[in-house]
C-alpha cells in the first residue's frame, strides 16, 4: 500500500503504521454488521446532474506562470528525474 501510494516508508515505520491501521480497520469492520444489500451507494450527496461547460476558450497561463512553482524547469519544460520502469513508475 505504501508503495502504491508512493509513500517512502522505512521497514520499522511500516510496522508502526500497520499496527495503527489495523486498529482503525478493526473499527471499520463493524460496517459488516449492516445489511446494505438493497441500498444504493451515495457518491455525491447533493443531487446535481448535467453540469456541463460550453466549449468556449478561457484565458491560459503564460509558460512563465505555468513554470513559476516548479522545482526544476528548463526551456519551457518541467524537468523530472529519469523514468526507470519500476513496473508502474
Amino acid at each position: 500500500m505504501a508503495l502504491l501510494a508512493r509513500l517512502g516508508l522505512e521497514p520499522a515505520e511500516e510496522e508502526f503504521y500497520a499496527a495503527q491501521l489495523g486498529g482503525i480497520l478493526a473499527h471499520i469492520d463493524r460496517l459488516r454488521e449492516v445489511d446494505t444489500e438493497a441500498i444504493p451507494p451515495t457518491a455525491q450527496v447533493v443531487p446535481l446532474a448535467n453540469r456541463l461547460r460550453q466549449d468556449e476558450p478561457l484565458p491560459r497561463l503564460s509558460p512563465e506562470e505555468a513554470l513559476a512553482n516548479a522545482p526544476e524547469a528548463r526551456d519551457g519544460y518541467f524537468v523530472v528525474k529519469a523514468i526507470q520502469d519500476s513496473g508502474d513508475a
Partner: protein, 475 residues
C-alpha cells in the same frame, strides 16, 4: 470583541479608517501571536493595499458592503493569488498559486482586508491542529490546550481577536469543532453552497468552505458574500442566496430534534452534555418545541467517514509529486525514488495514515468491502437525517463530545482523535448545513451547540443559532 456590523458602522461613520483598523489588528496580532500561534504567515503588505483601497471607497463614496475594510484571515488551504499557501504541509512549502479560490475572489470583491494565512492540520486532516507540518496552534482560552481542528488557526485567530472573521473548511467537522473548542461561531454550509474552486482538496465529496466569526450575524454576512453557483465548480448549486432576512425570526413554533444517539456517543463529557441541555431548555423557553428524533446509523458514521475521506484524499494528494510545484528531494537517482523520498519528506504521519487507508480501501479486491460499503452506509446516514427532518425543523446537539483537550493528549491514539468528529461528520456525509454557536462552558472551557438543518436550509440553521445567541446573552 467587535462584530462586523459594529465595525462597519464605525467605518461608515468615518470614526476610524480601514487602515487604522488594520493597524489595530496587526498590533493585536503582535501581542497575541506569541501565545496563540494562529498564523502561518501574515500578509501585511497585501492587507495595507486592500485597506487603502477600502478607505478610498469610504472616502469617495464608492460601493461599500458590510465586509469592506474588515480585517480577516484565511485558512492555509484556500488559494490566494501570489501568496504562499501550503495546506499546513511541508510538501507545498513555497507554493504560490497563480489564481484566487472563488471564495477568496468573492471576498476580495466584497472588500476583504487579508491579514494572514492561518495554521491548520496538514491537508485539513485532524481535529487539533497538532498535525500541522509547521507548529501547533494554542487555544486562546488555555494555551496548554488545542484549539481543535483542522481550522484551528482560524478559530484561535477569531477567538483571540487576531481577525474579525476567518475562513475555514469543514470535511468532518473542521470548522464547527474548533469553533466550539475556541468559543466562536463556525458554520459549514450545505455541500454545494460555496464554491470549492481553489480549496486544496482533502475529501472532495465532503469539503465545504465556511466562516468562523464572533457572532451568528457575522457568519451570515460572510456566507452571503461567498455563496452561490460558480462556473468553475460543477458541484456548486444554483440556489437563491439569502441568509439575512429570516435571521431574527426566532425559534417560536420551530421543532428542534434531539437525537438520542448524539447524547449517548462514546466520550461525551458530562459538562458538555449539561451545557447543551441547558441551552436546549433556554431554546424551549424561547418558544421552540423539543422533539425526540432518531439517527439509528450514527454508530457507523465514523467508520464510513474514515473510508470515504481517506479514499478521496489518497487520490487528491497524488498530485503532490514535485513536478509542477512543491518541494523535491534532489538526492533521488530516478523518478520513482523522487516520488517516494519527496512524499516521505513532505507528508506527516496522519497524512500517511490516511493515504494508506484510502489506497487500501480503493484497491483491487477491497473496493466492495470498504469503499462501496461505506458509500451505502452514507446513503443510510443521509436517509436517517431525511427521516428525522420529517419530525423536526432542525437537529440540535453538542458540536464536539469534549472541551479543548491538552496538547499531546491524543496524538498517539488516532482513533480517540477521530472520536472528536463523531457529532459533526454526519452533517458532512449527508451534505447538511451545520453551525456551532458557543453555549456556555465546562470547567471554564467553551462548549458548542450544533444546529443541523436540511439541505439548502442554511438560513434556518443561522436563525436557530441566532435565536440561541439572543437568549444566551439575555441571561
Amino acid at each position: 470583541m467587535a462584530t462586523i456590523s459594529e465595525l462597519h458602522d464605525r467605518l461608515s461613520r468615518r470614526e476610524i479608517s480601514a487602515s487604522e483598523l488594520l493597524d489595530q489588528q496587526l498590533a493585536r496580532i503582535e501581542e497575541q501571536e506569541p501565545r496563540v500561534h494562529a498564523y502561518l504567515r501574515l500578509t501585511a503588505e497585501l492587507a495595507r493595499a486592500q485597506a487603502q483601497a477600502a478607505d478610498r471607497l469610504f472616502r469617495e463614496g464608492g460601493p461599500v458592503g458590510p465586509l469592506t475594510g474588515i480585517p480577516a484571515a484565511v485558512k492555509d488551504v484556500l488559494s490566494v493569488q501570489g501568496v504562499e499557501v501550503t495546506a499546513g504541509s511541508k510538501i507545498l512549502a513555497g507554493y504560490r498559486p497563480p489564481f484566487d479560490a472563488t471564495a477568496v475572489a468573492r471576498l476580495k470583491a466584497a472588500g476583504l482586508v487579508l491579514v494572514g494565512i492561518t495554521n491548520c492540520d496538514e491537508f485539513a486532516m485532524g481535529s487539533s491542529t497538532e498535525n500541522s507540518g509547521y507548529f501547533v496552534t494554542r487555544n486562546p482560552h488555555d494555551p496548554q490546550r488545542v484549539p481543535g481542528g483542522s481550522s484551528g488557526g482560524s478559530a484561535a485567530a477569531v477567538a483571540a481577536g487576531e481577525a474579525v472573521y476567518a475562513l475555514g473548511t469543514d470535511t468532518g467537522g473542521s470548522i464547527r469543532q474548533p469553533a466550539a473548542l475556541c468559543g466562536v461561531v463556525g458554520m459549514k454550509p450545505t455541500y454545494g453552497r460555496v464554491s470549492r474552486y481553489g480549496l486544496i482538496a482533502f475529501a472532495s465529496s465532503l469539503d465545504q468552505v465556511g466562516p468562523l466569526t464572533c457572532s451568528v450575524e457575522d457568519a451570515a454576512l460572510v456566507l452571503e458574500a461567498m455563496a452561490g453557483v460558480d462556473a468553475r465548480d460543477a458541484t456548486s448549486a444554483d440556489r437563491p442566496v439569502d441568509f439575512l432576512s429570516e435571521l431574527e425570526a426566532g425559534v417560536e413554533g420551530l421543532r428542534l430534534g434531539v437525537p438520542r444517539e448524539y447524547f449517548q456517543v462514546e466520550g461525551l463529557e458530562p459538562g458538555v452534555r449539561s451545557a447543551v441541555q441547558e441551552a436546549l431548555r433556554r431554546l424551549e423557553r424561547a418558544g421552540a418545541e423539543l422533539v425526540d428524533v432518531e439517527l439509528p446509523h450514527t454508530d457507523y458514521g465514523l467508520a464510513a467517514y474514515y473510508i470515504i475521506a481517506p479514499a478521496e484524499c489518497s487520490s487528491n494528494l497524488a498530485r503532490m509529486d514535485s513536478v509542477r510545484f512543491g518541494i523535491r528531494d534532489e538526492s533521488a537517482p530516478n523518478l520513482f525514488q523522487s516520488y517516494l523520498r519527496t512524499r516521505r519528506a513532505g507528508f506527516g504521519p496522519e497524512v500517511r495514515r490516511r493515504v494508506m487507508l484510502g489506497t487500501y480501501a480503493l484497491s483491487s479486491g477491497y473496493y466492495d468491502a470498504y469503499y462501496l460499503k461505506a458509500q451505502k452506509i452514507r446513503t443510510l446516514i443521509a436517509q436517517d437525517f431525511q427521516h428525522a427532518f420529517r419530525d423536526c425543523d432542525a437537529i440540535v446537539s453538542a458540536t464536539a463530545p469534549t472541551v479543548a483537550f491538552q496538547i499531546g493528549a491524543k496524538v498517539d491514539d488516532p482513533f480517540s482523535m477521530y472520536l472528536n468528529d463523531v457529532l459533526t461528520l454526519g452533517g458532512n456525509l449527508a451534505g447538511l448545513p451545520g453551525i456551532s454557536v458557543p453555549c456556555g462552558t465546562s470547567g471554564g472551557l467553551p462548549v458548542g451547540l450544533q444546529v443541523l438543518t436540511p439541505h439548502w436550509q442554511d438560513a434556518r440553521a443561522l436563525r436557530v443559532a441566532r435565536a440561541y445567541e439572543m437568549v444566551r446573552d439575555a441571561a
